[in-house]
Subunit: 409 residues, 2 copies
């Protein structure tokens, strides 16, 4: 099995100091689900009165865990909740046995915490198609419950990693009605070892008080412009899960889908999404694709994702080649409205093309010089309407092939 | 500029003997549009009475040539036709100047052949965004017209190449109503040198007599299950063009969209499509994806193309890894209907998964052994309905990255 041990060149300097979210506690343990000598099971406990919202993969072959979470996340409850996550095995495409594993884990956590079974949310990430040895997980539940502590979010960020090259977390404190509200989140994603499945798991916590339906509305709206706006390789996991818990411990009640809280949550979610892209398999460049003046926001997203997913665009970026012809190609193939003669393309501040042709002021030297940066921004203005969307991606390098093709499981 | 000189390992032994199609003549010349020391402009002449049908890229940023061909291909005429193709410059994203180039070339060919301008069809393939030096092409038109000969189809196959690693042609003779009808075709595609644009150009000829509307109907139907069923990297060119000319010289009239002629034409088009995939950038494996028992043919195509385009599936194939979990992932993300517990997956004759889980009889050894073959077949049965579709793709290797990222223009 491949072991990619090098940390992504796009990784941040280290794991940040995150605010303590009152009402949320963490613990991680070594259960040996697949990995040895590292923590691979994580328990997160939300106090009574917390609300929970979630968004999940739309895959038709999603895992038993995802199906179970989806069935539970819309229920109203004052009991609080528990999240339990294992790495090393995704419990996906494991037939009816997968549902049995989820039930066994939920029952175990419910018994140890006093929660109802439908307040326990499970996630599994790792190899696909192998029966989850859930006994190894349930054997650790008492130890996890006993070890729960408010300051162990970094342990949790490590516990949910599979082949990620660094632990991912971010947080902020925002003033709402003159009072501080805290938000902290962790994520995993984009590491891959054949035959493991890349999955994205994200957990975000806040001490704001937010009614469940509103929390879900805010989460869904922000997901569209954060996690649903990133791509590493256009392949969608069977396990993607994002859970947001609000404990209410700050005493600050949020009653609107917009405002300071939503803005701060947006920033946390966007930062976590960027951290996933920066750990993209083989990534050497982080790229923002900004599409404006499209016929609609939906059209802008179609164009932005077509550019962000194009292997020809992504290999050109890897080669530091200012290959704007491939941007034109991706716009053309996307299926959304475009008019060749109204297109304007910038690489950073460099005007590359306008009016259906290369700009008179453009020089290959200016374009090539810009492409050497590690963080890049490509701006496409369609000149048609008011639609806009921003996506984020990484380049496509030999590293991606090495990680996904050079090793046999 | 990168020069990829190695011939694809999936290339056929050589260019085949093709039947002479009475009423079609070919010539190629060195115009120096971009390449030096090789033929880069090709003229193909169809005799009076020929009908022409065509299908073209749907790209919103398609080239001036494609737009011009689309405007002409539906016109009825007894004059015959000419196709003129240059390699080295795609005349795409060249603003209004591109339309001027097309007009200059059409006028020149019309004058030299006595055809109306609207019977001249142009194609350009190569670098995008650079003004086409059409004077170099028009300077060669007299020489090309003088050199037209019935037995130069292989010259034409070479003349339309850009970075293809071999010339592509195929043909057949089919008996219709007891009389022989001949079909021959050439194609280019899948070669790429940064910043050139991969394009696919295909020209097919027959001596059958086919009314224009019927010829277009047959061509469109067969394109859906041949050229529109292949993918190398999911990126669609701005120049894709397929023209079919029927001279009628055999005296055999085709009056139905099905039957021996359509079947033979299907085989020729499928063979040409396969030749394009076999020259896919960096390809080391040729892969057939066969999807059956989907809810509809459209759903089957969605699944087949999702598998064929998945970078994780394609890298697994490159690594000879029987990674059926990635097939399940691709089915799940495709958006078309699927039921985990009804899926059956075969690699060749090896039953891999059934009833939502790995098959009891499956062994990794059997899967890994099968994956070592150069030509692979993956069969997914959805167990839902009657829909079926077959797509063809190649693997994703370091060669693809080398061709598209390692070199700067």
């Amino acid at each position: 099995m491949a072991q990619i041990t090098e940390v992504s060149p796009l990784a941040p300097a280290g794991f940040p100091e995150l605010p303590i979210i009152q009402g949320v506690t963490f613990a991680a343990a070594e259960a040996g689900v697949k990995y040895q000598g590292r923590k691979d099971v994580t328990l997160i406990r939300l106090a009574a009165g917390s609300t929970v919202a979630g968004v999940f993969t739309k895959s038709a072959t999603r895992s038993a865990n995802v199906l179970d979470c989806q069935a539970k996340v819309g229920l109203e409850s004052d009991e609080g909740a528990a999240f339990i996550i294992n790495s090393g095995n995704s419990n996906a495409f494991t037939g009816r046995a997968g549902e049995g594993s989820v039930k066994a884990i939920c029952d175990s956590v419910a018994q140890a915490t006093g929660l109802s079974g439908n307040r326990v949310f499970t996630s599994s990430t790792g190899v696909i198609g192998e029966r989850l040895p859930h006994d190894r997980i349930t054997a650790k539940v008492s130890e996890l419950v006993d070890g729960l502590t408010a300051d162990a979010i970094e342990d949790a960020a490590h516990g949910i990693m599979t082949t990620d090259t660094y632990a991912k977390g971010t947080g902020t404190t925002v003033m709402v009605d003159g009072k501080p509200v805290k938000i902290a989140g962790i994520a995993k994603g984009s590491g891959m070892i054949a035959p493991d499945m890349a999955t994205m798991l994200v957990y975000v916590f806040t001490d704001a008080k937010v009614e469940r339906a509103l929390l879900q509305q805010i989460l869904s709206e922000l997901t569209d412009i954060t996690f649903n706006a990133i791509t590493v390789d256009s392949d969608t996991s069977t396990s993607d899960t994002l859970l947001l818990g609000a404990t209410g411990a700050s005493g600050v009640e949020i009653t609107e889908a917009t405002g300071a809280f939503a803005t701060a949550l947006h920033e946390v979610m966007r930062d976590l999404a960027h951290l996933v892209v920066r750990d993209g398999e083989g990534a050497s460049k982080f790229v923002e694709i900004n599409v404006t003046s499209a016929a609609s926001d939906a059209d802008a997203k179609t164009h932005a994702m077509a550019i962000a997913n194009s292997p020809l665009v992504k290999t050109a970026i890897a080669g530091e080649d200012p290959n704007w012809g491939r941007i034109v190609m991706a716009i053309g193939k996307s299926g959304a409205a475009a008019d060749r003669d109204l297109l304007t393309i910038h690489f950073g501040d460099v005007l590359v093309a306008e009016k259906g042709w290369v700009a008179e002021s453009y020089s290959e030297e200016a374009g090539a010089s810009y492409m050497q940066a590690q963080d890049l921004a490509i701006h496409v203005d369609l000149g048609i309407g008011e639609g806009r969307f921003t996506s984020w991606t990484c380049d496509l390098t030999h590293g991606y092939i090495t990680i996904n093709a050079d090793y046999r499981s």
